[in-house]
């Protein structure tokens, strides 16, 4: 299988640029990153603001909200496959309860994309929550007290104190998750196997298929280099942003 190899120059790298399936997969992955990362962050911010204030039972509540993050991704993928099941899944049952028709979640292209997104948000918003909660704890209380004396509303405090103070954490979360979402594999494999068609054929899964189903390791390695370049490029941009703050 790799016994005899032949030097092929840059042909793998160049070939990929004209490979429709590779380009589609890259585009799809970028779209997914562009939707999933901000959504994870916003959910995480909302969760963190809800959980931040100390209330009786708060510790237990925080533990339960953190649970999806420590779950096994393969199992999460399978769990959501049960939940998205056409005939008897919880999601379709909820739709039925509010009088909507059942949907073929995993076998309709756009819905499959949405399904992976929902499962991803379920798994990863707790991570953003965790980071932002740590950031919230580090904000000095007297800032808020001073603002209150000046008559600031909750929204004003959020916009003028909380968010600016959280900026470093927000950048870290965005950076880590951008890298993370580019690597999405287990969930896609278990939930949709890249399908239907190539609706959820994200880049990591694409590389896996080229490498270990078609056994074209050269092309898979070349595609990996492109992926790494994109990740490094985005990291570089975000890091520079980071340095200016």
């Amino acid at each position: 299988m790799y016994g005899r190899s032949q030097f092929v120059g840059l042909s793998n790298f160049i070939g990929l640029l004209f490979d429709d399936r590779f380009i589609t997969s890259m585009g799809l992955t970028c779209l997914f990153v562009a939707v999933a990362v901000p959504a994870e962050f916003l959910l995480g911010l909302g969760f963190a603001l809800t959980l931040h204030k100390e209330i009786p039972g708060g510790r237990t509540i925080r533990s339960m909200v953190l649970l999806p993050y420590v779950a096994v991704p393969v199992v999460i993928g399978l769990t959501w496959r049960i939940l998205f099941n056409y005939q008897a899944g919880l999601v379709n049952y909820l739709l039925y309860l509010i009088g909507l028709p059942k949907l073929l979640w995993l076998s309709t292209p756009h819905l499959a994309f949405l399904s992976v997104l929902i499962a991803d948000l379920w798994r990863w918003s707790p991570f953003a929550t965790l980071m932002i909660l740590a950031g919230l704890r580090a904000i000095p209380v007297d800032l808020f007290e001073a603002a209150e004396v000046d008559g600031a509303t909750s929204v004003q405090k959020l916009i003028w104190i909380t968010l600016p103070m959280l900026k470093p954490i927000i950048l870290v979360v965005l950076l880590l998750r951008t890298i993370g979402v580019f690597k999405i594999f287990d969930l896609v494999y278990m939930l949709t196997e890249g399908g239907p068609g190539n609706a959820t054929d994200f880049i990591s899964f694409y590389i896996f298929k080229v490498g270990f189903r078609i056994w074209n390791l050269g092309e898979a390695a070349a595609a990996s280099y492109y992926l790494l370049l994109i990740i490094l490029g985005i990291t570089f941009i975000l890091m520079r942003q980071f340095r200016t703050t």
Binding site: L67, L83, L90, I203, I231
Partner: protein, 279 residues
């Protein structure tokens, strides 16, 4: 007192919001676990049932007797702790060297280590697979333990580095003035203070290795070395139909360490994750 009512209302709203959050977070898990105890065919019932109507232990028994779950569990219980221990030792030594010995280019080095973590697993697995087949380690737990170091060590270095930077260097200087060697100062002064960092690193790495799927999928082929995530995968790829009952039961078993982590080591998990990210 209207002010009092307002405070109470706010608390109520907060609890309602928390209730929604908790429901969203745990319903999928409960759903999975209950699937493992539903009698055959019940998972297809409409309307679906949250609790099994006729609970059965059939699947909880068959995953051990038919699918040898104990072998997978054994492998996971070897791979994850050993990998965590190894990564934490390497991470501790590396982080100490970078932070305290301040070698030339130490900063570049730590950024480089971070880049290692960024590598998509799917691209590392190709060379790893070729290397491990050359040295005949494929289908061996040792291969997994070594392969996991690729992402475990960077994580560990970053976490421990963060903890080390928080420890004042003066402690160690004082010990050295009093006649300790560098090694003595490290082991008697820094190491005990660093203990929470080491636990945090081991906890995070254990979790990462426990849930890892892709490397295990490529590097293991038999009961000799396959881990719990592979068992779930195998059950989902069964010939005739997806074995949902078994998947539910396997899911429950493979989540137990996660539950225990959240219960007993949550503090370290959280500190490890935030330290790795923030510093």
């Amino acid at each position: 007192m209207p002010g009092r009512t307002k405070v109470k209302m706010r608390l109520l709203v907060r609890y309602v919001l928390c209730g929604i959050l908790v429901t969203w977070s745990i319903i999928p898990m409960i759903w999975l676990v209950s699937t493992g105890f539903k009698s055959p065919g019940e998972y297809q019932a409409f309307p679906p049932t949250l609790w099994p109507t006729k609970p059965t232990l059939k699947y909880m028994v068959s995953i051990w007797s038919v699918y040898s779950a104990e072998m997978y569990l054994r492998n996971s219980l070897i791979v994850a702790p050993v990998a965590a221990l190894l990564a934490t030792i390497i991470g501790c030594v590396s982080a100490y060297s970078i932070v305290r010995l301040k070698p030339k280019g130490g900063k570049v080095l730590s950024v480089f280590i971070l880049v290692l973590w960024m590598l998509p697993p799917v691209s590392i697995i190709i060379p790893l697979y070729l290397i491990f087949s050359t040295v005949k380690l494929v289908d061996n737990v040792l291969a997994l333990i070594l392969a996991y170091q690729v992402f475990a060590v960077p994580f560990s270095v970053w976490i421990i580095r963060g903890f080390l930077q928080e420890l004042p260097e003066e402690f160690e200087d004082a010990a050295r003035i009093d006649g300790c060697s560098r090694l003595g100062a490290f082991s008697r002064v820094t190491l005990p203070l660093l203990a929470p960092g080491l636990v945090a690193s081991a906890t995070v790495v254990f979790l990462l290795c426990w849930v890892e799927f892709l490397f295990a999928l490529i590097l293991t082929h038999s009961l000799k070395s396959q881990t719990m995530p592979i068992l779930s995968y195998t059950a989902s790829m069964a010939e005739a139909e997806v074995l949902w009952g078994e998947i539910g039961s396997i899911g429950l078993v493979s989540m137990i360490p996660s539950f225990l982590l959240i219960l007993f080591l949550q503090k370290y998990l959280v500190r490890g994750l935030t330290m790795g990210g923030i510093k």
